[in-house]
């Protein structure tokens, strides 16, 4: 049993490093016993969820992770900034804060009382920590800036030169966004002011999706598959659509033409439906992106979890299963690369279509 669990641990490490298993989070793992029963649920969801440190791998009982800054603010305790390794992967209480290990706030930082128990009435502090997903997103933003500032500089300096290097990789994509998404959706006359936002949106989603598939620090965070990030993107889309809505668009919402009067008075059924429609559009964008990317990560992680599930039954099964799992994992990763592009495309296209509807002239 001891050699078997040792084998399992080694297998786990090798797979994490060599087979490019995404770094999984086990910060909340407070059970440092010799025989840890493999739990596929927490294995998968710890990876998909956010974390205060960037977990790399485990060797034996030791967790190896990169500490990230924790930024907390609460009225009673004021501003607190420290690195996440102070929590010792969730085992320690630091400055009256603790990472919850269970309950509805699992994995989140809460304020604890002097005696170490959690105050059920205390609200969570305002948590602006640079978490794993924020780090991944910063890295993606850095990559985006590096790519597009280089490309942009070349366009600025040699406007008529044929594309070269990284420029020739991105020019077709930029042209694809301009000519096949934005132009047909918004219309020949009005599309230009929306190009910077929609191009940023497309590449932000796409690059974050793609980096999420590469399981090596500082990539591999499930950024776009996180509901908060998807919500943030949908929120920007909501703002751009509605802040650019013209008179015709708002008339259509508040006083829909060609609709019987009894649908507007005395109970404004149509306006209510239309206003709900304004909100459902970005909501659907958010859910679609979140669900698609998360689903891909869950499936990939599921295949890798299968190795350990089979390995617990017998090491031979573990080896056999690993061949199958790695094969399927590669297949799903390729599929996810396609999904990464499709989701960026769909999000951008729908936003462009909604903008198109908002700026359309009366017909």
């Amino acid at each position: 049993m001891d050699s078997q669990s040792k084998f399992l641990r080694i297998l786990k490490v090798i797979l994490l490093l060599m087979v490019c298993l995404k770094p999984s989070l086990s910060a909340a793992d407070d059970n440092p016993l010799e025989d840890i029963k493999f739990d596929p649920g927490s294995f998968i969801f710890d990876h998909i969820g956010d974390a205060y440190d960037w977990h790399l791998f485990d060797i034996g009982d030791r967790h190896y992770s990169i500490p990230l800054p924790v930024i907390l603010y609460s009225r009673e305790k004021g501003l607190d900034i420290f690195m996440s390794h102070r929590f010792n992967h969730g085992y320690n209480i630091y400055r009256g804060y603790k990472i919850m290990t269970d309950g509805p706030e699992k994995g989140k930082i809460v304020i604890v009382r002097e005696d170490g128990t959690v105050d059920p009435d205390a609200r969570r502090p305002l948590d602006l920590s640079i978490t794993k997903n924020v780090t991944g997103m910063f890295f993606a933003a850095f990559i985006m800036l590096a790519i597009f500032l280089t490309v942009g500089k070349r366009y600025r300096n040699n406007p008529q030169a044929p594309p070269k290097g990284i420029q020739s990789l991105f020019e077709p994509l930029i042209l694809f966004v301009i000519d096949d998404i934005v132009k047909p959706a918004i219309g020949e006359k009005k599309y230009i002011p929306f190009l910077p936002y929609l191009l940023t949106l497309f590449f932000f989603i796409w690059i974050n999706n793609m980096l999420g598939l590469i399981p090596i620090f500082p990539m591999g965070a499930n950024v776009t598959g996180n509901i908060s990030v998807a919500a943030g993107l949908a929120f920007t889309s909501f703002l751009v659509i509605n802040l650019n809505g013209n008179k015709h668009y708002w008339r259509h919402i508040l006083n829909t033409p060609n609709v019987p009067v009894f649908l507007k008075l005395p109970i404004p059924i149509m306006p209510i439906i239309e206003i709900v429609g304004i909100l459902t559009k970005p909501f659907v964008l958010m859910v679609r992106l979140f669900a698609n990317i998360t689903a891909g990560h869950i499936i990939t992680m599921g295949f890798f979890a299968l190795i350990f599930i089979l390995g617990e039954v017998s090491p031979v099964f573990g080896f056999g299963g690993s061949v199958l799992s790695v094969g399927f994992g590669i297949f799903i990763t390729f599929l996810e690369m396609l999904v990464a592009l499709i989701q960026a495309y769909v999000f951008t296209l729908l936003t462009a279509l909604f903008i198109g509807a908002a700026v359309e002239d009366g017909h």
Partner: protein, 164 residues
């Protein structure tokens, strides 16, 4: 569920990151890129239009030059034909003239020869006459040395007259 509960911190950082990326890229990337791509598109369209126009122009020029060449060929043929005709006329005329000249020269030569001949004949006639007279004189002198013979002659001459 932790999975579907939005987290304010992440939402906040997401908006900050996105806005920063958007603002920086808008100024330093999208603006020059979009502008350049549009310019390039316009340039290409213009280039194609110009090329199309130039092709039409070239076609026109070609048609014109073809017409000029064919006209030139016709002209040349005409000139060659005319030249040949002129040459033939000149040759014919020259030959006729030459023949005429020759005829004239021959004629005048003949006239001169005729004149010379007549003159020569006349001279010969005169000489013959004078020679005959001389000879006759000599003969008569010799024959009429004696009277008898003179008489005989007179008789014969008289006979002749009587006979006539």
């Amino acid at each position: 569920m932790d999975l579907i509960t939005p987290d304010f911190g992440l939402f906040f950082w997401m908006l900050v990151t996105f806005m920063l990326v958007f603002i920086i890229l808008k100024k330093f990337a999208w603006k020059p890129i979009v502008q350049t791509l549009k310019e390039r598109e316009d340039n290409i369209r213009e280039g194609i239009e110009n090329a199309e126009a130039a092709k039409g122009e070239l076609e026109n020029v070609r048609i014109k030059s073809d017409r000029i060449v064919s006209q030139a060929i016709v002209e040349r043929d005409k000139l060659i034909r005319q030249g040949r005709e002129i040459k033939e006329t000149i040759v014919t005329e020259a030959r006729a003239k030459a023949e005429e000249e020759a005829k004239k020269a021959v004629e005048s030569a003949r006239v001169i020869i005729e004149e010379q001949k007549t003159a020569a004949i006349n001279q010969i006639k005169l000489q013959v006459a004078s020679l005959s007279i001389e000879i006759a004189e000599k003969i008569l002198r010799k024959k009429l040395k004696d009277d008898k013979e003179q008489m005989e002659l007179m008789d014969s001459l008289l006979d002749d007259f009587e006979l006539n």
